[in-house]
Subunit: 287 residues, 6 copies
Amino acid sequence: MFSSAMEKAEILVEALPYIKDFYGKRVVIKYGGAAMIDCELKKKVMQDIVLMKYVGMHPIVVHGGGPEINTLLTRLGIKSEFKNGLRITDAETMEVVEMVLGGKVNKEIVSGINAMGGKAIGLSGKDGNLLQATLAAADGSLGFVGAVQKVNAQVIETLIENGYIPVIAPIGVDEERQSYNINADLVAAAIAVELNADKLVLLTDVPGLLNDPQDPESLISILKVSQVQDYIGRGVIAGGMIPKVQCCMESVTGGVGRTHIIDGRIPHAILLEIFTREGVGTMVINE
Amino acid sequence: MFSSAMEKAEILVEALPYIKDFYGKRVVIKYGGAAMIDCELKKKVMQDIVLMKYVGMHPIVVHGGGPEINTLLTRLGIKSEFKNGLRITDAETMEVVEMVLGGKVNKEIVSGINAMGGKAIGLSGKDGNLLQATLAAADGSLGFVGAVQKVNAQVIETLIENGYIPVIAPIGVDEERQSYNINADLVAAAIAVELNADKLVLLTDVPGLLNDPQDPESLISILKVSQVQDYIGRGVIAGGMIPKVQCCMESVTGGVGRTHIIDGRIPHAILLEIFTREGVGTMVINE
Amino acid sequence: MFSSAMEKAEILVEALPYIKDFYGKRVVIKYGGAAMIDCELKKKVMQDIVLMKYVGMHPIVVHGGGPEINTLLTRLGIKSEFKNGLRITDAETMEVVEMVLGGKVNKEIVSGINAMGGKAIGLSGKDGNLLQATLAAADGSLGFVGAVQKVNAQVIETLIENGYIPVIAPIGVDEERQSYNINADLVAAAIAVELNADKLVLLTDVPGLLNDPQDPESLISILKVSQVQDYIGRGVIAGGMIPKVQCCMESVTGGVGRTHIIDGRIPHAILLEIFTREGVGTMVINE
Amino acid sequence: MFSSAMEKAEILVEALPYIKDFYGKRVVIKYGGAAMIDCELKKKVMQDIVLMKYVGMHPIVVHGGGPEINTLLTRLGIKSEFKNGLRITDAETMEVVEMVLGGKVNKEIVSGINAMGGKAIGLSGKDGNLLQATLAAADGSLGFVGAVQKVNAQVIETLIENGYIPVIAPIGVDEERQSYNINADLVAAAIAVELNADKLVLLTDVPGLLNDPQDPESLISILKVSQVQDYIGRGVIAGGMIPKVQCCMESVTGGVGRTHIIDGRIPHAILLEIFTREGVGTMVINE
Amino acid sequence: MFSSAMEKAEILVEALPYIKDFYGKRVVIKYGGAAMIDCELKKKVMQDIVLMKYVGMHPIVVHGGGPEINTLLTRLGIKSEFKNGLRITDAETMEVVEMVLGGKVNKEIVSGINAMGGKAIGLSGKDGNLLQATLAAADGSLGFVGAVQKVNAQVIETLIENGYIPVIAPIGVDEERQSYNINADLVAAAIAVELNADKLVLLTDVPGLLNDPQDPESLISILKVSQVQDYIGRGVIAGGMIPKVQCCMESVTGGVGRTHIIDGRIPHAILLEIFTREGVGTMVINE
Amino acid sequence: MFSSAMEKAEILVEALPYIKDFYGKRVVIKYGGAAMIDCELKKKVMQDIVLMKYVGMHPIVVHGGGPEINTLLTRLGIKSEFKNGLRITDAETMEVVEMVLGGKVNKEIVSGINAMGGKAIGLSGKDGNLLQATLAAADGSLGFVGAVQKVNAQVIETLIENGYIPVIAPIGVDEERQSYNINADLVAAAIAVELNADKLVLLTDVPGLLNDPQDPESLISILKVSQVQDYIGRGVIAGGMIPKVQCCMESVTGGVGRTHIIDGRIPHAILLEIFTREGVGTMVINE
């Protein structure tokens, strides 16, 4: 027994330099994909987040919720059209999106974190006017798909100073009280910039940016902002990876220390990113 | 013009003694019934709540959401059975209740208050483990209808001290992360007791307790706890009024200053209760 | 009864946008003229000030006291000479001025505010060295008529942060402990600038600035700083209105948001100015 | 030069144990008599008070003002009658008392302290409702001579925590805003009790309590509460000394550490009392 | 690589429940024996202490220093006599003890903790009068061996609230400024009681209390205060273990949660005690 | 008796302007020389320091300890070589220096200050990494004689804000945990600069800078930075005075208000410097 216990102690101690470096730092986590579906992965994400809080970091969680939205839309017989990968969101759809994200997904994450010993508070962009939004497509062609206009981070500051972990559903609101469906990556990036966060972590279902999409070994560990145009031109950054990389660029050029596209299918991917030298996935830096 | 403006000034000044008396006091408001459906009434409730906050009170809102739940259940083809007026809540129903209350109704109230200039934050009982619950019927015959076991009011304290208005959906949670559907009156009473509130106000669709239910002029303005048994025996307190009166009794015997059953169909009923000598509806006191 | 009560509620709610706009703002009020003599007007001014405090503003009162000074001078057989409308203040007169302003008028206002539920503290410029003064006429031709040299606003900050309403008698002091009789308008303007106030309100016995002094309907609602010279040239601004307008100019160019010359003979003139869109009297702005 | 400078240093150091003992302690000083008339004595009292503040004590000054009141009454041709040594105070007299105490004497002390480097704020019992009073003689036979009913010390606490020295004129007020003329010794004792002061010092024009009034060498250094009745019976405590001793008794039985009747005619009498082992005058203790 | 990294993440997460339980708790550690001599063990103790601080505990370290004292005494040719295992401490010896403990051992621990990323401050019992002491043997037969009379923990409170780790040399002082050599176990126990600590951990060179001293497998994991007399009678608690057990008894009966006698020769023994269910060594509890 | 007591009171009052000027100011005192050896002088220095703290200054003490180091080195048979007046410090010597300064001298000063009623805390440069050091002679020719690289004054700020007097032994440390022996004058100057102190006082065994070293009457009271080169050229500043003057220059050019080289052999020299107009010794100013 002892030898194994001692090994554990050694591992705790190995974490010390990372704990020191991140003490008091703000880390915005975009939570989505497989890590939100698989039960075991879910639990591990919650553990990672609570551990981060206890060792002195300030995690802020932004979540998506695609599959659950689809389920309820289907049950209600509401059909969705997509344009450039974005769901055209009419009023009826918007109502479903808001109920699923704010009433179900958000609260599940909150109670999951609390069950691990954290103190989570769920917010939508309406709470404290957190996310002021406007139409993403000014011509209305996307319906109530929104773009972040302004982040009122005061409520987040109040909560993190008092020991809470904010969990945020990506719903925006405008002055007419209209709700907006906003991409969670964009919300995470905007909040990271407003909070002057040290890190933005996007949990995805890919290993990161790959030189060769077929070869998981071809991971690009570090991506400089200055390389992005070239990589897009060469097709290395393509498809769904383009908006993710753009989020990262916006956040690092907006003052966030580092941003990471990591593989949420790996158990404890967040801890691995934070507590190991190599990290996981692709790190985007402002160079 | 002037004479009318001066009249307005006089009325503001008439409010001064009430503002003084309630300065810094906590008022829990159970928001429900007609005042949640009629557009004009809704807007007036929001105004009342924001005004209370600006003149120094701490309003805390607990809301129900019956009709909207019915609508979605119907659209999804889920049937409800009732027992003693309580909806038997199976897992499928619970999910709908939670989405509607937490994702739709709660956020509508939040954005309504914000639109009037307040800073509202929506909470369900899961946020910060606010409402720890257990089965209301231990034999499971009511499904996931819950009873409040413990109120963790810390998050409410944090929010009201920082200028926010908490808006609470009556969803409870237990240690297994099971959700519970709790009666909003009971939640309001439990929170009022835990917060040591000065006032609990239940917005209803009746003028208050009537001696003769057919005669709105027969309002009982003050009801003493010591009179309740007699009134129930004589059938004056009957039907849906019994649980409301019981909520009031529990809160005043639990230390809340005064509780009021008022008529939410009257515009600005809350302000009328607070800012006029006569008040409105029935006041329950601990005598 | 109800319809009237509800009307009252509506009026309270109409005040909400103004309450929001002025929340936490500092408003310096020069209190004088008829509003200090007529019993009913006096009471209404006190109510206005206390209401302002309760709805979140920080009123600071500066008062004059001319008639009461005359009364005591007359009883003591002390004669006054005037020069350019200023009382030449010898040592004997100065003593009377100080006793009347600091011992009588100031304390009457203080107890009046307290009787309405406020917490007022009377100050003269000697308290905490609030008003450092020097001779207004360097050649001594005005006696101890003073000019404000420096405002030490620390005691005002301490008091308003602790919920008090400062009431200030316009007595200055120099390093030799000599007392000075300073014009209350000038003191109000200097304090407003030092406190970076949002509003300076001068209560007068005229409707404001009139295009035709004989025609109260000819009120100039807005006066731009850039217009002042022209208006003086044309005789629109004349006589006692000249120093009042100069006070306003000094305060708005010194950073005070807006300044107002209003008619203190109108009941609740201060509330009317703050809580109605049209306001009352003449507003001087820095354009 | 050096030997004398070193002697000075030695004397500063000798004060150290006293400074330590009184650090953070509250000392209420009744200021009156010769020490308020003689210019040199006045200045020394101001120095003593400022020094106390700088070395960490919290001096609170309560003053009388008899001779100045007489002067103005005489100039105005108002006659006073006395009953048991108390001036029967009609409305006209009350007005004079208030102007002289609050407007003249109080502000002179304030500016005197400020000139020595302190930060004094003058208060009358009206400020912050500091001294709630009632008729001293219920039958009205003394006019508006008052008795202290309640001390609202909140403003004193605010001021002393912010580095100010409160200077208090013994004017009381009742709920009808009537002013009262209260004996300064009584006010000092009531404030000392309310503030839970460590010391009450009464500056008088006698050496203290003398066994033989003709023999200044017959000073009674320590007077126990238990001895008072006997001393009164034997005529040792007599005349004007009776109310002074009663003030002292009320304050020590009310929780004030020690009270002192000292000779204000001695320069720096306050410092001598505090910074020498023997003290000066008579100390009343609760035994 | 990944599988091993993931294993590490799992181990971090396993620590979470312990981190939660000890969050904000005070743990007094008596540091001595082999763990102070062996270089690798030393480093691990420092790591353990810094990790504790970073995950929210408040470690307070008390150290001994026997061997280093002997070395210097020998080099200076000073001989020691012992009585009941205590070094008779004359003035010359006392000087050496103080220099070695306060100047060498204490500062080595401080710089060791700092090198691991902590912020340590070394204190002796003289600093802030932390340890007021008296003669352990009133007849002077032990020389300046001291007993703790009073712990002035104010400086410890100040330091731990500001993020520091106090490291304390067991030197006491009396009012005559005489230094005392106090047993470090006793100092640790007295400080734990004064601080109302949750845990006292004594690092020793034995596995804990053994039923059979020859058999390390015979460890007594839990020792109740009620069993101690019996165990002493039966010789199970004997020799140097008696004073250690007495320290533990005094601290748990004085209000400290739990106390532990653990084997400092095991690497990371402190972490093992805190972060594993079984703990290590013998736990003394107040039953 | 009285006349003498009154004289004392006068002297206290004479100190008032100085107390005012230095209120809240930071004064770094280099303590060394005769004032550390003579018993009477020692006691007077402690009194001076405690008095400074009680009248509102923040004294910070840095001490040397030459003679005591020599004593122990001699007893241990360790020989020292000197180079340019600096002791070449090998590892063995360094250990002795650290034990004597940190374990003996520092704690004696601490307990001396505490005995006078202060609250002193002893620190070495290792505590809180206060003094980061490097080799004074890069070629190692001076051994572990150190130069200050960085002052981490955070712990000093924490202590002085909480009422403590920091007493600092001039031991530095580098990242490899190597100890360094640093000249106390240099440490005092570096700390004064980092703390933005108002005064640096060097206690020496000379009257100050003399025009003619043989004539104590030839004291140069004020030395301007601009004069230093010339004075060195002319030999007025020579020998051990050169590094002292350089310390003073570095501190005044680094932002310290004034620095003083004073004669520690004069009793209460620090008080004389602070509380008399003439001061003592030589003041170096940045002109």
